[in-house]
């Protein structure tokens, strides 16, 4: 295998694929990036057996071939090379010569035979979306997913393609984020799948602001194709809990709040939360919202916000971090907070198809 590639192009490609490579892999081959040179493209592939990413970059291919090189090491070498064309040649023993300007590196790789096979898009169901839209949807939900491994069905984001739209849901059992977007697909392509957190963070890392995105799904596998990138992931095998039943259908009070103002107040109030007392109290009363955190050993923080509110007085305690998460990931100026009482879930909405349900904390 022999090729010429510019430093910038190779670095960009490696940047896309190298995240998947674990710092400590059990299998040495999983630390390597698979290089495939064919038809003026150099394909870079990495995998951790759950998620794999393949990315094609422009290269001047002088001789086709396949091999693997240690991904992170290659990436750090390329980063330090001068801005010029890099000559790469890998012999049949998987030893690479990397030349750029006056620099020369010999890197010992592993045979591509050892590299696990990476799945290709298979046409069972295909959904067409915009990269930017999909990315935004992930961003607005992913933070609510659970990292508790005993609740593995919640360790990811639910993609529910039904009734002409994609509903994306994430929950850790304490709060739930939901966002919807219209997508065209045939009836037989209706279905639910749970995308693991690792794939979600890879997508957030590599998806662009705009451009076509094709999503191929079959039983336990999903493949995302966009630009010259292919991201494949296993799906979480399990049934997602019936999230519809935890979304309140009615509320007693609805308050409009400026997102930034509430976020800032919560940020300040949360400075006084501790492991022992993580609750922040919100009191809505008479055109005023008072945000209070009290920790016996630390002190008290109080923020008073002017709001438009003439409903009944409600005091409810939330984990401030959980309340801030959606506010950080929305861009709307105004949000709506729906409340009933101190033990009923609070709901955050805004003027897009977004919904956040948050269970309060019981304080005595």
């Amino acid at each position: 295998m022999k090729l010429k590639v510019t430093k910038a192009t190779l670095l960009e490609g490696l940047h896309i694929v190298q995240n998947v490579v674990g710092v400590r892999s059990t299998l040495p081959i999983l630390s390597n990036v698979l290089l495939t040179a064919e038809e003026n493209k150099l394909w870079l592939t990495t995998t951790d057996l759950e998620v794999s990413v393949r990315c094609g970059i422009e290269a001047d291919i002088e001789q086709d071939g396949m091999s693997t090189l240690p991904a992170r090491r290659l990436s750090s070498i390329v980063r330090e090379l001068p801005d010029a064309t890099i000559n790469v040649e890998i012999d049949k023993n998987d030893v690479a010569s990397v030349e750029c300007g006056s620099s020369y590196f010999k890197i010992i790789g592993l045979s591509n035979e050892e590299f696990p096979p990476v799945s290709n898009p298979e046409e069972k169901h295909c959904y067409n979306m915009d990269q930017g839209v999909f990315r935004e949807m992930l961003k607005k939900t992913a933070y609510a997913a659970s990292s508790d491994e005993t609740r593995f069905v919640l360790n990811g984001v639910l993609l529910s393609f039904r009734e002409g739209k994609l509903t994306m849901v994430a929950t850790d059992g304490r709060r739930l984020a939901l966002v919807e977007s219209e997508v065209e697909f045939p009836d037989e392509a209706e279905g639910d799948m749970i995308l693991p957190t690792k794939a979600v963070s890879e997508l957030l890392h590599v998806l662009g602001e705009e451009g076509d995105l094709k999503i191929y799904a079959k039983e336990n596998q999903i493949v995302f194709e966009f630009d010259d990138v292919l991201l494949a992931s296993k799906l979480i095998d399990g049934t997602y809990p019936n999230y519809r039943q935890v979304i309140p259908t009615q509320c007693e009070e609805r308050v409009t709040v400026e997102r930034e103002v509430l976020l800032t107040a919560l940020k300040r109030a949360s400075l006084l939360t501790t492991d022992k007392s993580s609750a922040t109290k919100l009191t809505f009363n008479d055109n005023q919202l008072v945000v209070v955190t009290t920790s016996p050993d630390v002190g008290e923080a109080r923020e008073t916000l002017a709001i438009k509110y003439t409903g009944k007085e409600i005091t409810v305690a939330f984990n401030a971090e959980y309340m801030m998460d959606p506010l950080r990931n929305l861009s709307n100026d105004e949000i709506f907070v729906e409340l009933t009482d101190d033990l009923s879930p609070g709901v955050i909405k805004c003027d897009i198809p977004f919904l956040y349900v948050l269970m309060p904390m019981r304080i005595s």
């Binding site: 508790d148 005993t150 609740r151 929950t171 059992g173 304490r174 709060r175 739930l176 809990p241 935890v246 022992k276 007392s277 993580s278 609750a279 009290t294 016996p296 050993d297 630390v298 002190g299 008290e300 305690a317 984990n319 033990l343 879930p345 349900v357 269970m359 309060p360 904390m361 019981r362 304080i363 005595s364």
Partner: protein, 390 residues
């Protein structure tokens, strides 16, 4: 940092509760305990009764002779427990560091709370007011830099007292000097007699006695202890139940056994015991742990973090069974143990979206009902219909 401790002691607690609940008893000598014509002793006496020299632990017959018109009432433990919980609840509004000593007294560490709620004296006054306002009962409070001094102080001005021990070393020494040595924590009748035989009658005398002379008298260790206390030094911290890190119970088999069912049966018995103690502590368990010691002393532990902290026997049995079932009995079992840790309070508990709260509270209620029955009628009085099968 200078610590601030409160010792809150309810005044004639049992008698005061009765006088509060039965206004007709107010101002009268009230004695809680056995009737004067029966065998038995006085559990508590109102201040009016104390004027006749009646005190707790005195035979009721003698109390009846000293004050024939006193009202003798049997103790109503349930009611005292209720009021006690109410009072402890009030304390916890002021600080999480409450060490309950008995039904009617507690130490409170208000070192941190001072920054929010004012000085030790101010907090003590607020606590007294709140207790009086909500229960109608009076308390005496001692405020000091350590528990020893706080407890001494609460007794200085009973009833309805509030005594603040000064902070400075010299003032503490002066404060302690006139007190009899018997007031020092750990000095019982025997030690007191021993000390008095050498002319050490007051704490002041003790302060002036060199430690080596004391050593000859009571031993090196006790001498050190007495001397420190005589100068008002006490570094014990508040021992809240909150700081109780875990609850566990183990059983060693008489003969090592490979009978899986027998081991499981024993395990479930341990689980119920841990569950009962957990419920008594008022905590919820966050982590469950199984311990198995094989023949030959090799020990394994398996633990699981619970999705939802719980304290009912059903959930605990489920987890214990799960943990046990995944273990192969590679050798005969010598010991089996079960424990819970990661104990949390209900206070500021994050509620869950998918929790079936009603179901969980029912499980807990049922477990508590079983506790009550066992307490009343013995541990074998009630069990599962299926034996220990689940």
């Amino acid at each position: 940092m200078l610590m601030t401790y409160l010792h809150v002691d309810m005044d004639a607690f049992f008698a005061s509760v009765e006088q509060h609940d039965h206004p007709e008893l107010r101002g009268q000598p009230v004695v809680i305990g056995a009737q004067p014509d029966q065998r038995g002793v006085v559990a508590a006496a109102s201040y009016e009764a104390r004027e006749y020299g009646i005190h707790s632990a005195m035979p009721s017959r003698e109390a009846g002779e000293r004050c024939p018109h006193a009202v003798f009432l049997p103790p109503n433990g349930k009611r005292y427990g209720e009021v006690s919980r109410q009072i402890m609840g009030i304390f916890e509004r002021f600080t999480p560091y409450v060490e309950q000593l008995s039904v009617d007294e507690a130490f409170l560490d208000v070192t941190g709370a001072q920054r929010l709620l004012g000085t030790g004296r101010e907090i003590a006054a607020k606590i007294k007011d709140t207790v009086k306002g909500e229960t109608g009962l009076t308390a005496s409070v001692g405020v000091a830099v350590n528990k020893f001094l706080a407890k001494l102080a609460s007794d200085m001005d009973k009833p309805d007292g509030l005594t603040v021990v000064p902070n400075s070393k010299q003032e503490i020494i002066t404060f302690l000097a006139p007190l009899p040595v018997g007031r020092i924590w750990g000095v019982g009748k025997v030690t007191q007699n021993l000390l008095e035989s050498k002319g050490i009658r007051t704490v002041g005398d003790l302060q002036e006695t060199p430690e080596r002379l004391l050593s000859a008298l009571v031993g090196k260790h006790s001498a050190r202890h007495l001397h420190r206390l005589a100068f008002g030094e006490d570094e014990r911290e508040i021992e809240t139940e909150r700081e109780e890190k875990s609850i566990s119970k183990e059983h060693t088999f008489l003969h090592d056994t490979s009978d899986r069912e027998a081991v499981r049966h024993t395990l479930l018995g341990l689980v119920d015991d841990v569950g009962r103690r957990l419920r008594e502590s008022g905590k919820l368990a966050g982590v469950a742990r199984l311990k198995i010691r094989w023949k030959g002393f090799k020990t394994i532990t398996r633990q699981r973090t619970l999705n939802h902290p719980c304290r009912d026997d059903f959930s605990l049995r489920e987890i214990a069974t799960e943990l046990f079932m995944t273990e192969e009995l590679v050798k005969p079992v010598r010991l089996i143990g079960f424990g819970v840790s990661g104990l949390t309070d209900r206070a500021s508990r994050q509620l869950g979206l998918f929790d079936d709260i009603s179901d969980r509270s029912k499980r807990e209620q049922l477990s508590r009902a079983v506790d009550d029955i066992r307490r009343e009628h013995g541990s074998k009085s009630i069990g599962r219909g299926s034996g220990a099968s689940q």
